[in-house]
Symmetry: D3
Subunit: 290 residues, 6 copies
């Protein structure tokens, strides 16, 4: 009997690449984090801790065992070099997109989102972004650096232009960022209100969904670098994700878990549960669409 | 003047055994915990930390100093031997029940609940269970073991049969567990709705109340081994416990606090406060009944 | 070019003393804390962590950069000597008040509030206190000591007498404290209801506002010595503070953050955000008044 | 069968007061600690964790089960009032001394040592002190306070005068403290050299032995408020304690464990082991003397 | 280009089973741990953290990249059932031994050692054990249980009998365990002296080497459940392991790392470094032997 | 009386820039750290915690109060951009050097050392480097990046060439790094032996001294990103630093403290103590030279 090596995946995501509709990969990178680093540890922590949850969702009555997902592991990224790290991540997203699969990236700091957005924007001319976050991430630069977690949505706007970015839950930023949003993005402060209207406006255009987990209230998700009081609740977020999943999602990410800042493990467990629910919602919707 | 030795009880629970109506004992056991152990430390931590709360409840306008409770300390249980640990715990419950007192066990992992349920079921033919939990605990076995925290309510069902178990707050389990519940228990998912109806159905039958503290939202109670997002709030739970206390409670437990996973101490403090409120509600109700 | 030394202030509070309307100072003292000490670290932690938030408030559309605030640093207080520490703190408050500025003290344990209240009561005959807290702090003494965190509002009452103290959010205390409150203070248990009525009753009398951060739910604010479940939410508190700020506030404090008890940093971050919002609300209101 | 209440002692120290030669009591007090508080938690932590060690010493081939020790628990001391706390502690020491037993106090901050020294000095005219510590503790006062952890040996010198205090391991202090020591105490810097000479000089005079655990290297004992690199090793200290135990010890203490600062538990475990060895050495020596 | 799944091994141990001379497997089991559990997390933590060290040893001038090692991952063991867990572990050891390879097990609590010893004793009639540990592990039983971490070497003695077990570093146990050792094992207390003599006595008999990492001083290795002061140093241990590796080692284990108790990660890093050195020493010696 | 703002310096380092001989500045940068980030927090933590030590050294009988040192605070460096961060740091070093003062940089990751070395090499043609570290830091690049903490001494060698770099305590690296050292640097593995010979060889050439604190044993200094067992002791290191201080030091740094990884605070306290001793030794030596 041949012996297999020790495979390390998110729970229930052990299909082959070929048979999978969705591919998970980790982006353990946090070099531009200006306050408290640590999101590099998120993807490994989520794989480890995912075995504390079940594959079955009592919310959606769906089970990961009924869907095919491949977990590609983490890319080995050069700390200290945002430009090169983004290149590698863009290549990974392109490769998955070109195989007709959905890339799901686990960050890492939010800057990593720029990579799959670049890849997706090349392929989809009318790409929209749905962005859940506590922070606007619309700075022109941060201490002179244009490739910064605090500027990532601004960089996405450089590519996509006005009317294509929909932001929710924002409750922190410089005055200038809120001014920028007033003219160039659709921003909903503090909560997820207005999501249904955004979904209606987006229609069947392709959607990249980026979920900065610090949109959650720090009481439910303290495990992040810059916790901002006054966030949304897990049940609100879960409900919103299920609604977002009914759009034409072609790529997505979940980022800014910094597991060491919540030694109870509750933040990592919540991230795992959200990841399960997100995968189930997206794939179930795609199944219904086909 | 004779010197007494250093007595260690939960705050305000320093009556003698003879004069007490309710007896607390600890079950520091977590050998079958499959994910993250540590509930063995709960009862000692709760005694220590109980001195950070008061004996008076501004919610119920009642004071522990007006009731007689004996704290028997912890049993010394053999780690690694669930069967023998359960025997010792069953004996303790039987002894207290046979003296006409209410046993209140502080777990430990949830498996320990099987012991007082066995003792109570022998004595009360029509025993019902009210079960608050995030997890269904209805597996037939766990990696082949029938005596597991993940199977404890299934084992209770082996004894009591259909129509006697009322579950609330459940939001995690295998698909098969939810299927089992559909036929064999009364299960309310996610929240405590339906409790009043359950209380009505139970009527004046004897009730064993088992409170797995992870029914709470991890934001309020991160100090547990398998935190499940989307739980109930302290104030909801407190209100529900007071309603449960109006049934004919003959035994109860509070379990799954794992104090080291919440270094803020807030989880232990919350457990202490709930224990105070539970004792006050149960004894006040019994007083009114007499 | 002359070199300046390393100046350490709360974010955006770097004006000179002379030009400022409001003066921050720290009271790193916790010698009478009976349960878990650590509030001595609050003011330094808040200065450090304040650089994780922005100077701009999207809630009030105001920016700290538009107001003049001086951060005087911490007083060096003698641990173990409550009487002498209070003298030093009273002197600091008097000095600021006599310059026509608003003193804003960062505690420390709640006992420190007695110092600015003494200073303010000398200057303002009809001084009122608005008190947000989980604990009544109305004990006559604590183990014989009259200068205790658990007695601080009682000591304020010694000075001000009946009808001048308005308490909100109280959910812990001895039976005797609640009895005292019934006759001598205006107390609202559990939440912030009744605040508008209190503000109406107070009218334009001078107000000292003391905010014990443990009025918050421990899920949002675990970083405190005696966390009490069942507290108010950040958004409720923020809303209430803005309403309080419309009274004639002549001094205020924010206390009982114990930063080490929340290793996620979320409690400290929340305290920083509340401090920003409080300063903005108070100074914006004063600006409108002038 | 009558039920006993839950007794909480250091392992193997469960004899009655009457039959015991040595009495343990805790002094959970740290109000004057100027840097990082937490020694108040030491005595309770040591009782809890003592069950992780054995009663038998393979170093001395002695077993706690062969000696009679009473553990009186902790005194309830008024935080914030050093003078009153010291009075209570002095009374406890006097009571034990007057019954012909050896008081062994578990601190707490080092200031508590002043209480049993006062009691012992009244009873023994030629009392000497053997003092192991990283810090000189010889300040005239600390921020004006004479009753401070940093002044405790200076206060002892006020009582005993020159030539009676023998200090070892000292590696931190103001210049003035080292100057004071040069004239008034016998101080050995950095290590425990010179102990045998001190023991010879002391002869059969009565000895109070005060062990500040921070004399240990922080690598072995990080659980203390002001860790000072360059300390002594456990095995050196154990050896020295056994030699000290051959003097005429009439009282002793072990202080400055701050258990929360070492989350590994190794510091508390080491303190427990040292306490076991110290008790065995002192009582074995007394047995041989009789 | 086919995509491979995410493989998770100890650094440099990524050969196939067939080509390997040594096989690593994890035994994540700690159900009988009586004091503080957590060794179940050791093998996963060591794989994760091994990427913080290098494959090259400057001590031995050897590199893991020059040797073939297979990492089989962890067995899924039933918590709460020591007997069944041991069966599974014995089967794993037997399978590896029967393929002519060296099994290297990562515990887990020390009880797991019994499994490979059973397997090895069947195959090698004159098997000897070299045992490094702080604790004697020679109890007849623990609270009635014969399968306990505190009894594991006693159980090994049941199989092997007198004169075959060589114990080093022992500094904790009941009086009865030291008495048993005096008659039945070769025990060296406190340090590793006598190792060369033991190696000489053992000669070319087959050796099972079991390394309980708590033999190390807690200053260097705090990450374990029952830290015992007064242990050996890393450099002494490394030197001893290299000497042990020159015997005829047919199986070995490294156990009792409890990674969560040392949040600095130093204990896990040390365990990784020792594992690297041990593998290099054992395989280099075997290479020279062939 | 004018009010000064809250100044934040290392203890006893509060002179003006003009009067100072030595200037401290912080380099809070860790973007290229490949394993565990956090050294960005070192300089602030050291300033905070320095008030737990004294200004007086009983080792050297010197007091910081007798020397003039300016603490310039931290530079605000762009995370994610090593090249630009190094430029800013080089400018700072140049400015201090050109004023005839000694720059003392507090890292940060070790890469920051390259900046003052560049500045010093421009000014001093025959510059030598004394390097204490656990890691060789001699990689040609790390994942393609030449500006990496793992390559910093290699980059220094690019500037200085052979025979100018003296490395001590090295116990980790790739095989290729040790091979490089054999030809191009003077490397002493594992300990500080050979230091006196190196000092002799260096003679009166100008010396840049770079101290990576992980040269210490992790038992004494766990607060670092990649702890390597088998390091040197505090007392050995202190002794060596005093000897190094007798060379012609023209600049120096102390780096790789990651304070959050040692929650006891002992690592930060040790770093503070070493910094005090280093300043005293360097300035005392310069005083004697003049």
């Amino acid at each position: 009997m041949p012996r297999e090596r020790n495979v390390h995946t998110f729970i229930g995501c052990d299909s082959t690449y070929e048979e999978s509709q969705l591919v998970i990969y980790g982006a353990p990178f946090d070099s531009t984090t200006s306050f408290r680093p640590g999101t590099r540890f998120a993807s490994a922590a989520m794989r480890n801790e995912s075995f504390g949850i079940e594959t079955f969702s009592p919310y959606q009555e769906l089970d990961l065992e009924d869907f095919a997902v491949f977990d590609a592991g983490d890319l080995e990224l050069p700390f200290g070099s945002p430009a090169r790290a983004l290149e590698q991540l863009e290549q990974e997203a392109e490769s998955i997109l070109s195989d007709g699969k959905i890339p799901l990236m686990i960050g890492g700091e939010h800057l990593v989102t720029l990579a799959p957005v670049r890849a997706a924007a090349k392929r989809y001319k009318d790409l929209c972004i749905i962005h859940f976050d506590a922070h606007a991430d619309l700075r022109e630069n941060y201490l002179g650096e244009e490739l910064s977690h605090a500027s990532v949505i601004r960089r996405c706007h450089d590519i996509l232009g006005d009317g294509r970015i929909f932001q929710f839950g924002i409750r922190s930023g410089e005055r200038a960022e809120f001014a920028f949003a007033a003219s160039h993005t659709t921003m909903n402060r503090f909560n997820l209100n207005g999501l249904d209207e955004a979904i209606r406006v987006i229609g069947d255009r392709p959607v990249y969904f980026t979920l900065d987990l610090d949109v959650l209230d720090p009481s439910e998700f303290p495990g992040t670098g810059t916790p901002e009081a006054g966030g949304v609740r897990f049940t609100e977020l879960l409900d919103a994700i299920i609604r977002v999943s009914r759009t034409n999602i072609i790529g997505l990410d979940i980022n800014e878990l910094s597991p060491h800042y919540d030694q109870s493990g509750a933040s990592t467990a919540l991230a795992c549960k959200l990841l399960r629910e997100t995968i189930l919602a997206v794939l179930n919707n795609r199944k219904k669409a086909n």
